[in-house]
């Protein structure tokens, strides 16, 4: 495949997003951006919560916002390669290797990993422009990793590849290919590390870029069990960089971002794609096991406003205890069938109607689980009702805190991400409604298709940056 041509082909999406990339990521490299952002985040944060996939932003000083040299030179590479295009056959394996390094490309495989409290998110770049003879020379275990990951959609009992999220035809560091999105429970982390050892991953001399709390928690295990060195990255830095990147490349020709039109009317509420053309400032609400709320002013200027421990982990944890369910999917399925008003006490249950003195509608929830104070009611509700009430309670609470933060920070765009929102339209619609209703239309809730994967994408981007030398922008 002619990579040069391909990359230059006016595939509208590719070109458009490449431009986006340019805009978004080409600021001078190794700026002090990250430390600036982090410093702001540090002391001003008041939050116990932590985000899910671990918590909080670090001010690790590593990485951070700076541009991604690799992308910065994307066009550059493309042009170069076009010129050299004539003689691919002459390249020896060694030459390619050195060229790869000279072109500031890390050796394959390219991974980004986000080890959260509940889930590990893994992104894997599958190069699709590998010439046949290069493929032959490809080391065996590299090949087997690629085959294993790309030919399966499930790994072991619990690993899943979100096929529908795959980003195709991406040009990254002069290579073209697909970005795959894989997740598995953090509980399976040790099996994963063992697999890395069994496949002799360390022989590939790749850097494993990891973010999330697990990057710290499992660092030692990676080293001792699999002889792998992790490049630990701050999860909030990664989250923001990953989010901006995915938004800029788009979702296979479609926008990554969406919102709900008519959020206050269930009948006519529809999902609608949109672009984050000028994304700043935004309030970024990351709902994993817990919740982190960030105010993002530019790609490398943000602060963690607060967090709450009532997040996805709380929803699933309570659901497991209350209904005996075991998975997120199961919990959501139950919730979809349940009726929370059997569990929650509404304003009308107390006042017989609206509480007019304070403009509270009768249908508003006055007390979550309030009916459960009565034994009769406890005996009469279904597991589905309980699951629904749990979901609604957690979602409304996040909405309420997010809304207060938005008002305090004077930001009117609230972007919700995190795996809690995966296959969870009840919550996304409820959040959209809550933002709209309680702010009287002042706040807008936005969502992203790759909800939980931005941290992993951010870590992946750092990998590409990590082997990059400082260089002048042409």
């Amino acid at each position: 495949m002619d990579k040069g041509k391909c990359a230059l082909e006016p595939k509208s999406a590719a070109v458009h997003y490449a431009n986006g990339l340019q805009n978004g990521f080409c600021s001078p490299q190794r700026s002090s951006g990250s430390s600036g952002g982090s410093a702001a985040a540090g002391p001003s944060v008041a939050g116990l919560g932590c985000s899910s996939p671990g918590s909080s932003c670090s001010c690790s000083g590593s990485s951070g916002g700076g541009g991604h040299g690799c992308f910065e030179s994307l066009h550059h590479h493309v042009l170069q390669e076009q010129q050299h295009n004539g003689s691919p056959a002459k390249r020896s394996r060694l030459r390619r290797r050195t060229e790869s390094v000279r072109k500031n490309r890390p050796p394959f495989p390219w991974f980004g990993m986000d080890i959260g409290g509940t889930l590990v998110k893994l992104v894997y770049f599958e190069p699709k422009d590998t010439p046949a003879e290069e493929e032959q020379e490809e080391v065996e275990n590299l090949k087997s990793i690629r085959k294993y990951l790309t030919s399966n959609v499930a790994y072991g009992n619990t690993g899943v590849r979100d096929v529908h999220l795959e980003l195709k035809e991406l040009s990254i560091c002069g290579r073209r290919g697909s970005l795959h999105f894989i997740r598995f429970p953090t509980q399976a982390m040790h099996s994963f590390i063992q697999m890395g050892r069994d496949k002799n991953f360390s022989s590939l001399h790749t850097t494993l870029c990891a973010t999330g709390g697990g990057a710290y928690k499992f660092e030692e295990d990676f080293r001792t069990m699999a002889d792998l060195q992790l490049l630990k990255l701050d999860e909030l830095d990664c989250l923001i960089q990953g989010l901006l990147y995915v938004d800029s490349v788009g979702f296979n020709g479609h926008p990554e971002c969406y919102f709900f039109e008519n959020p206050s009317d269930p009948e006519s509420c529809v999902k609608w794609p949109c672009c984050l053309d000028n994304p700043f400032p935004m309030l970024l609400v990351n709902i994993g096991s817990g919740v982190s709320i960030l105010a993002v002013y530019s790609k490398d200027d943000y602060k963690r406003v607060t967090g709450t421990s009532l997040g996805g982990g709380t929803f699933l944890g309570l659901c497991c205890l209350l209904t005996g369910c075991e998975t997120f999917e199961e919990a959501l399925e139950m919730a979809a069938k349940g009726d929370s008003t059997n569990v929650d006490k509404l304003v009308k249950d107390i006042y017989g109607g609206d509480y007019e003195r304070f403009g509270l509608q009768g249908s508003a929830v006055a007390s979550s689980f309030g009916h459960m104070m009565s034994k009769e009611k406890r005996d009469s509700i279904s597991k589905e009702d309980l699951a629904r009430a749990t979901l609604v309670t957690i979602t409304n609470n996040i909405g309420s805190i997010a809304r207060m933060c938005a008002v305090n920070e004077k930001i009117d765009r609230v972007v919700f991400v995190g795996n809690f929102l995966r296959i969870n339209t009840i919550s996304t619609k409820l959040l959209a409604y809550a933002m709209d209703f309680w702010s009287k239309g002042q706040l807008k809730a936005l969502f992203l298709e790759h909800e939980g994967y931005f941290g992993a994408v951010g870590a992946f981007l750092e990998l590409l940056k990590s082997s990059d030398d400082p260089r002048d922008d042409p």
Partner: protein, 739 residues
């Protein structure tokens, strides 16, 4: 009558018939005969207004209604005010049973009205809760301006209300995650039905086995963000990933943390948005439960980094009832009345110490009864207070000082026999004096015992509150003024010496006289039935005289001795006006205070004599002082002229306490103080100048003087019994100007 969750709170207003002691001057035109008393004492019936608040469980609703019915017999009441959820639920029952119309009052309006009322009228109403401190309750000074504040009412849900003035408030937010969520979800998770039991479970649990902590994700702290490893990252996060059974205790604890943290976080967000720093918490979730007060306090500290303190209210459980009542009665006109907590009729804050009184702890609630007496006057700050918001009347907080607490409680216990005897003796002709006195003994003894275990029951425990409680208990059993006869006799005797004392003072040189006046003032103050050491001497030797007292006084230099500075000041220009808070009857006021006042008047200084409105121990009351002043004026031209020319004024302080709270004084007094441009305040006696106001900072010169008639206290201050405190203070500013 607000009827929340499971308890009914009832507020009613009564007029209480009380015996009060009155003094009346005899007709002066009649020829005085030897042995005739100075004035006549009579005990009369007086009617005072009182607010009662009681509460009981809903199960007793019928009994409650019977109770109300009995108390409504002779009233014109046609309407009963009710608020809370039950106002809707029990409306029919109430209307049928009482044949009264039920007026449903808005819950929040009542709550706010009640909250304003207690904040304004009850000192030490608000407190900070500190679980691990020496005293769990740290009571807050009454701030003269209670607005604006934030009230977070945690009932089944949460309401967040911003209160800006008496009538202006707004519900700025709320949350559905509240007490009902704790109760409902807790009942589901633990199969425990009762709210109190859930709290007990929670207090025994370990949340870290259920919650996912930062360290569970990071392996340790996330120090770059300042998140410690023990912080909760995801509430119930472990129950989603761990396949095991969790104990009821651990789940209840996790739930409690989750809800408290969530409410705390929202409260902080709202406080920040509206720039409010006073945040009060109430509602059944809080209601005196140490567990929830602790978790809420923790959460507020965490989210505001200590900038905002969570405040709780002693009478939180009654706010709705108080408000509902006030709304109906319109009795709460702050321009006309003040209210004071009656310690005799109010049960205090419950003990929370786990090893004490488990029965009481099991009952959920701040207290069971509250009585508030109405004063027909407005009480205000002394306008001369340097910083009213930081003024604390009491010198020692016995809640925090265990040693002092132990001493004073024992001291009051030991003195009780004498007080009972005195009370009986004061009413030789009245029926059942002995029985009533015995009841008084039981009641006060019980109060003291309660305070030994729960020093915080009525706010900060102080010598003042112990004294006031005794007065309230005496009144309760119709001993309005046990010292009336003693005072009468002493006044009588002292008056006979007045002219002699004045004459001997006149003979002295100016400088000698100034010292003699101060010494007289101090010697007079030795005569005090309130102090045990003195009452013993007076009891055994009635002839103990003025001269004897002078000999007993400590020689200079005194324990606190600013006499030289005072003398220097007297050499300067006269003060414009002196406000004198007087102490005891008899020798003190007549032979000590009046000669001193006379000298001030001669110097051209106007004098305002402030005395108690009602009786307390042997302190001279305003009505007694009026008679005494008239009699002295008849003997002394200086006093007579001063009265005539309005240079000497008598005002009542608004108080009936042996101590003095400068933040609750009769408004008329404050007005006079301002009109006369008062530039000197004299405070006399242990109760007013040592137990209280010793550290009070004023805008003008002040003189605090007392004889320490208690060896324990004297020792504590580094002296012996009969040590003298003569504290002359000049505010920093005017001192600077002089130099």
């Amino acid at each position: 009558m607000p009827r929340g969750g499971s308890l009914t709170k009832l507020a009613y207003y009564s007029t209480v018939q009380h015996k009060v002691a009155k003094v009346r001057s005899f007709d002066h035109t009649a020829k005085e005969t030897e042995g005739d008393p100075l004035y006549e004492i009579s005990v009369q019936e007086e009617i005072t207004a009182r607010l009662h608040f009681i509460k009981f469980e809903n199960t007793y609703i019928e009994t409650c209604l019977d109770f109300i019915k009995d108390h409504l017999v002779n009233t014109e009441t046609k309407v009963i005010k009710a608020t809370g959820g039950g106002a809707y639920k029990f409306k029919e029952l109430i209307e049928k049973k009482l044949r009264l119309k039920v007026d449903k009052e808005d819950e929040m309006t009542c709550l706010i009205k009640g909250c304003n009322f207690v904040l304004r009228n009850i000192p030490h109403e608000a407190f900070v809760y500190a679980k691990h401190a020496d005293s769990e309750f740290r009571f807050q000074n009454t701030h003269p301006d209670i607005f604006p504040y934030l009230l977070i009412n945690i009932g089944s849900g949460v309401s967040i209300v911003k209160v800006e003035s008496e009538d202006k408030f707004e519900r700025i937010g709320g949350s559905s995650i509240g007490g009902g969520t704790f109760w409902g979800l807790g009942a589901l998770l633990t199969k425990t039905k009762r709210f109190d039991e859930l709290l007990q479970l929670a207090s025994r649990g370990q949340h870290s086995s259920v919650d996912m902590l930062v360290k569970d994700i990071y392996g340790g702290a996330y120090s770059s963000l300042g998140l410690t490893g023990d912080l909760i990252a995801s509430s119930f996060g472990k129950s989603a990933t761990t396949d095991k059974e969790f104990s009821k205790e651990d789940m209840a604890k996790s739930l409690l943390h989750m809800i408290s943290n969530d409410i705390g976080q929202l409260a902080c967000l709202y406080a920040r948005l509206h720039n409010l720093s006073r945040v009060y918490f109430g509602g059944f979730f809080i209601r005196g439960h140490p567990v929830t007060m602790h978790t809420i306090t923790y959460s507020i500290n965490f989210f505001t980094k200590g900038e905002v303190q969570a405040l709780f209210l002693r009478h939180e459980g009654y706010l709705g009832a108080i408000g509902a009542f006030l709304k109906g009665a319109e009795e709460d006109n702050p321009n006309q009345y003040s209210w004071g907590e009656n310690y005799a009729g109010s049960s205090g804050l419950m003990s929370v110490s786990p090893d004490l009184n488990p029965m009481q702890r099991a009952r959920s609630g701040t207290f069971d009864m509250l009585e508030m007496d109405r004063l027909e006057r407005q009480l205000v700050n002394l306008p001369l207070l340097q910083d009213p918001s930081s003024y604390v009347p009491d010198t020692v907080d016995l809640t925090e000082d265990a040693l002092a607490r132990e001493y004073w409680l024992s001291c009051f216990e030991d003195a009780l026999d004498g007080v009972v005897k005195r009370a009986v003796a004061s009413q030789p002709d009245l029926p059942q004096a002995a029985e009533r006195a015995e009841k008084f003994r039981q009641k006060y003894l019980h109060k003291l015992q309660t305070l030994r275990h729960q020093p915080f029951a009525y706010g900060s425990l102080t010598v003042r509150s112990l004294l006031d409680t005794r007065e309230h208990c005496l009144n309760e059993f119709n001993f309005p003024d046990p010292y009336s006869k003693v005072k009468q006799k002493e006044n009588d005797v002292a008056l006979k010496y007045f002219q002699k004392v004045v004459m001997s003072l006149e003979k002295l040189s100016w400088e000698q006289r100034q010292f003699a006046l101060v010494k007289g003032l101090l010697a007079g103050n030795v005569f005090d039935w309130g102090a045990k050491a003195i009452s013993d001497v007076l009891e055994s030797d009635p002839e103990f005289g003025f001269e004897e007292a002078k000999r007993q006084l400590q020689e200079r230099p005194w324990l606190v001795d600013c006499y030289n500075e005072w003398l220097e000041r007297l050499k300067g220009p006269p003060h414009k006006c002196a406000l004198f808070f007087v102490d005891n009857s008899g020798i003190d006021i007549i032979l000590g205070v009046f000669p001193f006042v006379r000298e001030l008047l001669c110097r051209g200084t106007e004098v305002v004599l402030a005395s108690n409105s009602g009786p307390a121990l042997n302190d001279v009351t305003n009505s007694e002082l009026q008679i005494l002043t008239e009699r002295i004026a008849a003997m002394d031209s200086v006093i007579q002229t001063a009265l005539k020319e309005d240079k000497l004024t008598l005002v009542q302080s608004g108080s009936s306490s042996p101590c003095l709270d400068l933040s609750r004084l009769d408004k008329a007094l404050a007005t006079v103080v301002l009109e006369r441009h008062t530039d000197l305040v004299v405070i006399e006696g242990m109760g007013r100048a040592i137990h209280t106001n010793y550290y009070a900072m004023l805008n003008c010169e002040s003189l605090k003087l007392a004889v320490i008639k208690n060896s324990w206290l004297a020792e504590r201050l580094g002296g012996k019994i009969f040590s003298v405190v003569f504290k002359y203070e000049v505010p920093f500013k005017s001192q600077e100007l002089k130099q």
